[in-house]
Symmetry: C2
Subunit: 236 residues, 2 copies
């Protein structure tokens, strides 16, 4: 089956967590909004009520008759199907729990540059962003990253589940990549305390399909429109 | 089986979405942190590494050998088991998608009074909260509530899935309750445009188990510590 992924064509954003899973799985998929008039088609699908299970926002995935929205939900669907999550209930719940914690972290990362809301330009909330980013660097980032370090310790590594890769590993790789781009100084400092997370990142980066994807045109470069943005004044 | 729910004992917070599901299901459960030294036990469980699937934060649920964290994940587990979600994959995914959209709304509601971060007192981010809350009232709240109104229209109502109640209906009830408490003026205005959401709220409130729960001591009243807080200056 060919999957259809619908996501904003100019950013990695939340769609990237799905793209990484599809790429690692070697799945057959189209990144719809990146082709021709695909973005218009995506916007049209959201504004009309043709879909019985309408998405609130991208990303959403079409898999045959199914239309699935919300990043963690798409991954919960793809995981067991594409060999990126256990098939048993306990394992699926645990991977979903990890992914939802990553989603919370992603939301907090976005808030560092948009604390007053996505409706305002960064320039109109720069002062507030500085305060929020400082708290993120000092308190929230260490707490989240320390949590994943602990999970890797408890599992025995090298992956979050232990020996087997799951989609949350790919997402954690993306978190490290993004933090290095957005907060290079802070991340360099933080990485000293999370050797297991860094080792997992490096291991994921070397997986043949991931490595091929990262140098391909399918990988959109980091930029100042996505979740991870580099503003020098927000780094430590 | 007796479930053990672990959540902060003094607030509704995110735990309330789980409490409502357990109550509607008539499930056998203990709200651990609300009994004796239960809160210390909860904190101890989080700081040590005794749990193989450690939670990042409350709420978490113990169900026999399983320890499950993240609100939407707990509900995805309870739903099919307790008659609050379909058993089939497509139905489960859809309810989870709705719940994750509610979770996004909950996070944005929390940001209205803590845009600079949970580490700072409200008084130290009051000015910023006013700006963020204004955007929430004008743009975000109508967008989210309008989305759920559309879902109810597409499903035919009276529930999000149509004829059958699911746990996301209980959560949407809680959203309306909370918004009425936190933003009474704004919510009164918004409700005129979302008759289906209001009707669903009223229907849920009248369900015998929910109604009994709401007047019981198990229901913690809204207060100024949870997600939904009433600050007059943030209402429209």
């Amino acid at each position: 089956m060919r999957y259809e992924l619908y996501y904003w064509p100019e950013i990695q954003g939340r769609g990237e967590f799905v793209r990484l899973a599809l790429e690692e799985a070697g799945a057959d998929y189209v990144d719809v909004a990146r082709k021709g008039s695909g973005e218009d088609r995506m916007i049209g699908l959201m504004s009309k009520s043709r879909i019985k299970t309408p998405p609130f926002a991208p990303p959403f995935l079409r898999a045959g008759q199914l239309w699935i929205g919300q990043t963690a939900n798409i991954l919960a669907f793809l995981g067991p199907r594409e060999g990126l999550a256990p098939r048993g209930e306990a394992g699926r719940l645990w991977v979903n729990q990890l992914q939802l914690t990553i989603a919370d972290l992603v939301a907090e990362i976005h808030e560092t540059h948009h604390p007053i809301g996505a409706a305002f330009y960064y320039e109109d909330q720069k002062k507030e962003a500085k305060r929020r980013a400082e708290d993120f660097r000092r308190s929230r980032a260490p707490k989240f990253l320390g949590y994943f370090e602990k999970v890797l310790k408890v599992s025995g590594g090298p992956h979050l589940l232990g020996r087997t890769l799951c989609y949350a590993d790919l997402s954690l790789f993306q978190i490290v990549e993004g933090l290095r781009y957005a907060f290079p100084k802070t991340t360099r400092r933080l990485e000293k305390k999370i050797p297991r997370v860094v080792a997992l990142h490096d291991r994921v980066a070397k997986r043949p399909r991931v490595a091929a994807y990262l140098v391909s045109e399918r990988r959109i470069p980091f930029n100042q429109m996505g979740i991870f943005r580099h503003y020098k004044e927000l780094d430590g």
